[in-house]
Symmetry: C4
Amino acid sequence: METDQKQKRSLRGERFFRWRGRDVSRVENLSDIVFALSLTLIVASAVPASFAELQALWREFIAVGVCFALVLLIWSKHHAYFRRYDLEDGTTLFLNSAVLFLIMVFAYPLKFLATFLVTFFTRGYTSGEQIGAVMTFEQTGMMVTIYAAGYAAVFGLFALLYAHALRRADVLELSEPEKEMTRLEVRQGVAAVVISMAAIALAWIFPAHLTPFAGGVYFLIGPVMAWLSSRARKRAETYEAAGGAVS
Amino acid sequence: METDQKQKRSLRGERFFRWRGRDVSRVENLSDIVFALSLTLIVASAVPASFAELQALWREFIAVGVCFALVLLIWSKHHAYFRRYDLEDGTTLFLNSAVLFLIMVFAYPLKFLATFLVTFFTRGYTSGEQIGAVMTFEQTGMMVTIYAAGYAAVFGLFALLYAHALRRADVLELSEPEKEMTRLEVRQGVAAVVISMAAIALAWIFPAHLTPFAGGVYFLIGPVMAWLSSRARKRAETYEAAGGAVS
Amino acid sequence: METDQKQKRSLRGERFFRWRGRDVSRVENLSDIVFALSLTLIVASAVPASFAELQALWREFIAVGVCFALVLLIWSKHHAYFRRYDLEDGTTLFLNSAVLFLIMVFAYPLKFLATFLVTFFTRGYTSGEQIGAVMTFEQTGMMVTIYAAGYAAVFGLFALLYAHALRRADVLELSEPEKEMTRLEVRQGVAAVVISMAAIALAWIFPAHLTPFAGGVYFLIGPVMAWLSSRARKRAETYEAAGGAVS
Amino acid sequence: METDQKQKRSLRGERFFRWRGRDVSRVENLSDIVFALSLTLIVASAVPASFAELQALWREFIAVGVCFALVLLIWSKHHAYFRRYDLEDGTTLFLNSAVLFLIMVFAYPLKFLATFLVTFFTRGYTSGEQIGAVMTFEQTGMMVTIYAAGYAAVFGLFALLYAHALRRADVLELSEPEKEMTRLEVRQGVAAVVISMAAIALAWIFPAHLTPFAGGVYFLIGPVMAWLSSRARKRAETYEAAGGAVS
């Protein structure tokens, strides 16, 4: 019987979480539109006038794909948050507004960076001068700072949102595994902020010709997130086994 | 028990109000999209071609932030109105259409003003001529008039919307505290209109070199709104204490 | 008791109609977005660079207002249709797609015509040559044809949509007054098509210098629609009095 | 009684399918916005400055109409999928993200191709050079490849989505006719991929002056889809007759 319910939940939802929100609330509606419009800002350019122009867009195609993946990843975090807690109070609205602002404002910078990196790694620049016209070595420190700050801000806001949900845990009637999964999100958000600050610090400490490598600290994101996640999952399973019915 | 319900309500809603609307209605859906599109009109410019161009956008970043805050503030007023009363009759649709028109039409003027003020106060203009090319002293009177009229129109429309809800109070079965909170909104709307008209009057009475200070009358908004709000809250609490169950 | 229910219905709905749709369906959601985007296409131009440029936009402000009113009028017809019948079958989706196509495609032409007429009637053109550069006398015949065809297409599609609902009256369990109101919409749609075809015919029959007056036939719209509407309302009231409970 | 229910279902839904989703979920909401924005990218150009410019847009009008039809066709497939199964799990979100990416990214290429074909077939190009400036014979092979790949990707993703639903058939409690209709969609998706790959192969095998005809293989789409569909419908009817109640 319980297995049955778990399977049902797997259709719409998550293993350790009962989704409190079902209908799309207005905050979610506004947010969906802002996310989609951010995607449009990333895609929109100009209708190609000739097939040669169209073909020349293959680099943009890849860059847009990368931006899409990132924005939709943040959307899925946003989606999970509101499905899980269905909060619509003042604090949530305020923090969410800040997230929406960043999502919109970073659309163009994201496209700029993605296009630059794709063009760079697919050898789209034919000379060092061409690269320098877009970005000089001296500017990479500032570049790492701007993007790391944006990254930290988005994930820091999600940490605050999850911390807010945790403070309301009793009223929300979160089960033990649910509390654990909420704590996981707070920790992941804090980890993202710490790593971003490390990247910014390195960008200013490193000598100019090494600053591009300051961003390399982001390779830590994967392992750190995975470690936090597996630890939390194990704990949630222990709680569950100990008799804490989730639903 | 009652405390329990109040806590629940704090998750989605307000202390003195039972939210009648739950699902997003079509008016709300259309309005959300219009609000988000207004935000897009404010954000949209052009993808920066070089990192230098991207960095030069920091003033726009602040200006866009200010516009976002204002538009999202109006959105949250709009959100509260429809959650509270769930009205979808002809009068509401008509007044709401006028609000949407203003939200869209003022997107560009808002960005213009915010960019001007941010550039001015961050010393982005290097000479008086540069400022004069964007706006002359003689034009400030007209500027105050246009923006104050827009401000008055938006908040006046909200006053009319709330007055409309008040007229239907019996059918909506508003409790006494709810009626009081509705009256508060009407009064705040009227106050916004009066202050805006004072600003316009001063802009035309003042000699040309003082007109920029006519806008200073808006510093009254904060205290006036806070005074009206605290007065209404006290009354609502008295009603509540006198036995008027809210839900 | 019955009066009570009628009053409730007046909050969200119509006198003679029980709204079958409550939640926003996906067709409605898509349509809302398309309507709002059409409004954006009408509004979007460029952020003014100086206050003089901003002030010069007052004509556009009026023109955009007129377009908004028209698009939101069609939206409210669309809104009523789906609230009333809550249809989502193949025929409805197909006819609705055609409406959406016209709403989007006519955004620019609408803005063009509104701007032209507002500039013309506010004496914004300083010479006959200036007017001729935008539109010549010889082109008015074609102009009347294009806009009348668009108008006829939109209202013709609504006539088809309502006729489709009428064909499903039994399954929808429409009451007699509801059927009468549905028939009214079909008749109003047909009237709009007939008047549009008259305007087109006159535009080609009239000598060139009179063609602008062919559009004058649209002054018939008001009285004709009012007459059809009052006739239907009287009949609906008779049905209601004769004992046909609406809800 | 059963006939009654079937008729009701015909108002919103399908003969062989009970719709599991009713409210618009967030995935659907985001998707609707992305579809509508793709339509906007297709429509958006510039407000005509004169009536002559407006009239010159008739070719674009047709081209936009063709693109609209195609995008709304895909939308209706998307609509059916989520109404039918109401899935919102990780796999569905991921595959759906890929669909949204293609819908947005192919907006401009679609408009480019439609405009080219409409201009070509309405004799809008006055010389071979004019055509050559937009597309040369040598480029048609690549063109067929790009568009066929896009077509294959979209329908391949739908095949994967339906296959995913089929794997969850037990939890979704699909009836036999419903399973058959789901299998139909998988097969149609696979057929679209196979035909697209045939078109690409032919485009590279054919000598340069024949490559445009490689696209002709798409004329197979109609008959193949119809044959698969009628076969599945017959089977579904057999299941139904054999006593499998659908609802």
